[in-house]
Subunit: 409 residues, 2 copies
C-alpha cells in the first residue's frame, strides 16, 4: 500500500491530536491519497513517510521559495544558532534586517518582526486603529488574513464582538469598496487588501488597478491606512510590495512565510506616516527577537536581489499553464487556471464550465500517485528550485491522469 506508514501514523495522531491534525495542513479535506506526514525535503521535492517522492507545488503553503533545505540559508541559520538566537535582547541582525527590508520595499520606512503571518496582520489591524483612534476596518469578503479571533474563517470559539467593527466589501469592486467606506464614515481606520484575490475554492483574480487606486485614494481622503497583506503572495509577485507594479504604495504591508525561505519569521512593514501608531501598540512574542531566523532572512534577501528567481518562477509557471491548457484542449477537459502563473489555482470544470470539485479531487489523487503534489482548491506555489524537467514530468503525469479520467467519464 502506497501510504501504509502514513495511515498508521494517522491512527496514532488521532489519539493525541484533535481530529488527528489541524489547520491548513490537515489533509482530510483534500484529495484522497494525499499523504499527511513527510520525512524528507530537498529543493523542489518532498518525500512522504512511506518514501514516495513528490514534486511539491504547495511549497509548504508558501514558505519554501528557493528550495527546501537550501544549503546557504540553512547554514546561516545554524551558524547564528551557535552564537546566539533567543536571548534577553535582540542581536544587531535585527537592525540590519529592518534596514535591508525597508530598502527593498519602496513604501516601507520601518519594520517590526514577529513569527506568524497572523501576528503581522493583527499588528496591522491594531496599528490602523491606533493611527487616529478609529475603529472600522474594511476587509474583502472571503479573503484570508489569518487565524485568530478577529479573522479566522470559521466562527467556532469566537464571539460576534470579535468582528464588531469589520465591514466587508467585494474585492476588485470599486462601488462596493466605496459603499463600505461610506458606511465606516469618519470612523474608518484602515482598508485591508490582498495583492490579488487568492481566496480558496474559487477562481483567483488579479487586482484591477482602478480598485487598487481607489483604495489608496479613499485612505488618503479619509486619513486611514491602506494595508496590503503580502503574507501569501509577497516576494512571488515582485521584489517589492506587490502593488508597486501598479504604482500603488500601501501604508502597511504584512509579510511572512517566505521571508526567510521557511525559517520562522514574519514582519509588519510600514511607512513613516504609520510609525507613531505602530509605536503605540503592544505586540510581542517570546521568539520574535531571535537571531537565527533573521540571519536566514538576510541571506534570503541577498539571493532575491542577486538572482533571477522571480523571472524563473514566472517562466516555470507559464510553461505549466501553457502545457496544461494544451492538454485540456486535446482531452476536451476544461481546466480552469487562474491567478498569476507563479501562484496558480488549478481546478477542473464540468461540461457547463462550472467548477467540479469531484473531478478536481480525482485529478489531484491521480497526480499524487504519479509523484506530483497538487492541491484541489487552494492556490499553489511555484518554487524557484523547480526546473523545466519538473514541469514536463508534471505535464506528462497530468496528461495520463486526464486521459484515464476521460475514459472513466
Amino acid at each position: 500500500m502506497r501510504l501504509e506508514k502514513d495511515m498508521k501514523l494517522r491512527e496514532r495522531a488521532a489519539k493525541v491530536i484533535p481530529n488527528g491534525m489541524y489547520g491548513h495542513q490537515n489533509v482530510s479535506l483534500i484529495a484522497p491519497g494525499t499523504p499527511q506526514f513527510f520525512t524528507r525535503a530537498e529543493g523542489a521535492y518532498l518525500w512522504d513517510v512511506d518514501g514516495n517522492r513528490y514534486v511539491d507545488y504547495m511549497c509548504g503553503y508558501g514558505p519554501q521559495l528557493l528550495g527546501y533545505c537550501h544549503p546557504e540559508i540553512d547554514r546561516a541559520y545554524c551558524e547564528q544558532l551557535s552564537r546566539i538566537d533567543v536571548a534577553t535582547g535582540p542581536t544587531p541582525l535585527m537592525v540590519e534586517l529592518a534596514e535591508k527590508w525597508t530598502e527593498l520595499v519602496t513604501h516601507a520606512d520601518w519594520a517590526m518582526f514577529c513569527k506568524n503571518g497572523t501576528d503581522a496582520t493583527t499588528m496591522a489591524l491594531m496599528t490602523a486603529r491606533a493611527y487616529r483612534g478609529r475603529k472600522k476596518i474594511l476587509i474583502a469578503t472571503g479573503a484570508y488574513h489569518g487565524a485568530t479571533t478577529w479573522c479566522t474563517p470559521f466562527p467556532d470559539g469566537t464571539v460576534p464582538e470579535d468582528r464588531a467593527h469589520i465591514i466587508h466589501y467585494e474585492y476588485n469592486n470599486v462601488e462596493s469598496l466605496e459603499k463600505a467606506a461610506e458606511e465606516a464614515g469618519d470612523d474608518l481606520a484602515g482598508i485591508f487588501a490582498s495583492p490579488f484575490k487568492h481566496d480558496v475554492l474559487t477562481d483567483q483574480q488579479l487586482p484591477d488597478p482602478a480598485y487598487a487606486k481607489r483604495a489608496r485614494a479613499l485612505c488618503d481622503e479619509k486619513d486611514a491606512l491602506l494595508i496590503v497583506d503580502e503574507i501569501r503572495a509577497g516576494l512571488r509577485i515582485a521584489r517589492d510590495a506587490s502593488w508597486s507594479l501598479m504604482g500603488v504604495e500601501p501604508d502597511l504591508t504584512s509579510w511572512g512565510k517566505s521571508l526567510a525561505n521557511g525559517h520562522p519569521i514574519s514582519a509588519l512593514l510600514g511607512s513613516e506616516k504609520a510609525k507613531a501608531a505602530a509605536g503605540k501598540i503592544y505586540a510581542t512574542g517570546s521568539f520574535w527577537f531571535a537571531g537565527a531566523a533573521m540571519a536566514a532572512s538576510l541571506v534570503t534577501l541577498k539571493i532575491l536581489q542577486e538572482t533571477d528567481y522571480l523571472e524563473r518562477m514566472i517562466g516555470l509557471g507559464t510553461r505549466l499553464r501553457t502545457g496544461l491548457g494544451e492538454i485540456g484542449q486535446r482531452r476536451s477537459i476544461s481546466i480552469r487556471q487562474t491567478g498569476p502563473e507563479q501562484m496558480p489555482l488549478i481546478m477542473l470544470a464540468d461540461d457547463q464550465g462550472n467548477l467540479d470539485m469531484q473531478r478536481g479531487f480525482a485529478f489531484c489523487s491521480g497526480l499524487m500517485e504519479k509523484g506530483v503534489y497538487f492541491h484541489p482548491w487552494h492556490n499553489m506555489f511555484i518554487s524557484a528550485a523547480m526546473t523545466d524537467k519538473d514541469i514536463d514530468m508534471t505535464l506528462e503525469a497530468a496528461d495520463r491522469v486526464l486521459a484515464d479520467m476521460s475514459v472513466d467519464a
Copy 2:
C-alpha cells in the same frame, strides 16, 4: 564607554523600528545601563554587543531553561533542519512529541503545537468558548496572558468589544472568583489562571490551594473549562502542570517559551473532555508544523526527565534568596523577594517597606556594570546552567552595589 556600540545601534534602530525596539525586550523602561543588543550567548551567560559579559537572570524572559546554545538540543534542531523542517505537511515527530508531552503532563490527553505563547492562550480561549458555545471568560486582574487584541496589557489599537465577555477577578481571592463566576451565570466558558501570581511591578504570590481548588470546583459545577497558563512558569515549577503539586488538574494548559529550550514552539495541552471543542476551532500558522523545533523539544523533554535540572534550579534560587536576605539585613536594606525561588521577583523597598522603583533601578544598574543582568520589576528566571559560583559572584556584586547605595543614601 561601556555601551558604546550598543548606543550607536540604538540610533540606527530608532530610524527603522518604531520606538527603536518594541515589546518585552525594549529596555527603555528598565534600568539605565541595560544593554539592548547581544552578540553571544552560552550556558548561563550573555555578551552584549560591546563584549561585556553578564550572568543572565532573565533567560530570554524564560525560553532558556537548560543553558543558551545547548549543544545536544541545538544539534537536534540542525540535524532535523537538514532533513525536513517546514513543509507541505508535518513530520512524524509531531505525533511523537504529542505522545511524549501528554505522557508527561498528567491532565493532558492531546496536544496542539503552535509558535507564540499568545497562540496557545488564544486557542485556549477559543476552545473554552467552543466547548459549550458559551462566551464568558474569567481572568485575574493584572495577569498577563499574551499580546493580542483580547489580552494585550495596553489598550492602544484595540476596541472595547475585544474584551466584551471577559470578567476579572482577584488572584487567590475565592470570594472574588465566586462573584465573577456568578456574574458569568450560565454563560461561563472558562476560567484562566496563572500557576502563581507573576504580574509585573508587584510582589508575586504563590497560589492558595483553596483558590485553585475552588476554581476547579466552579468549572466542574458549571461545566466550564479550567485553563492554567503555563507559558512563563511551566517546567520551572514541576515536571507536570504546575498545579499538579496541589492535586488540581486543569482542562487546558498553555505552554511556550522553554518547551524546546528557546527554539520556537508553543503548545496547548488538553484533557479528553476538551478534545472535541479543540477540534472545532480553526487555528493555524505557517511554521506551526515545522519539524526542527519539535526535534529540539523531544531532546529537551528527555533532559528534563533524566536530570535534576529542576532541583538544581530550586537549589540555586534558594542560595540566591538566602544570600540576598543576609546582605539586606547586614546593610539594613529591605529587599522584597517573592515568588518561587527559581522564578524570583526582587525589588527594593523604602524605609516604610513600600516598593521603591528608583532604588530598584539603581540596584539593577549597579549589578549590570558588574556583569549581572537583573530586572527591576519583572520576575526573573534561574537557569539550570547556572552554578553556585555564578550565584556567589552575583551575591558579591549585590553586596558591593548595596554598600554603595547605603553610602549614597
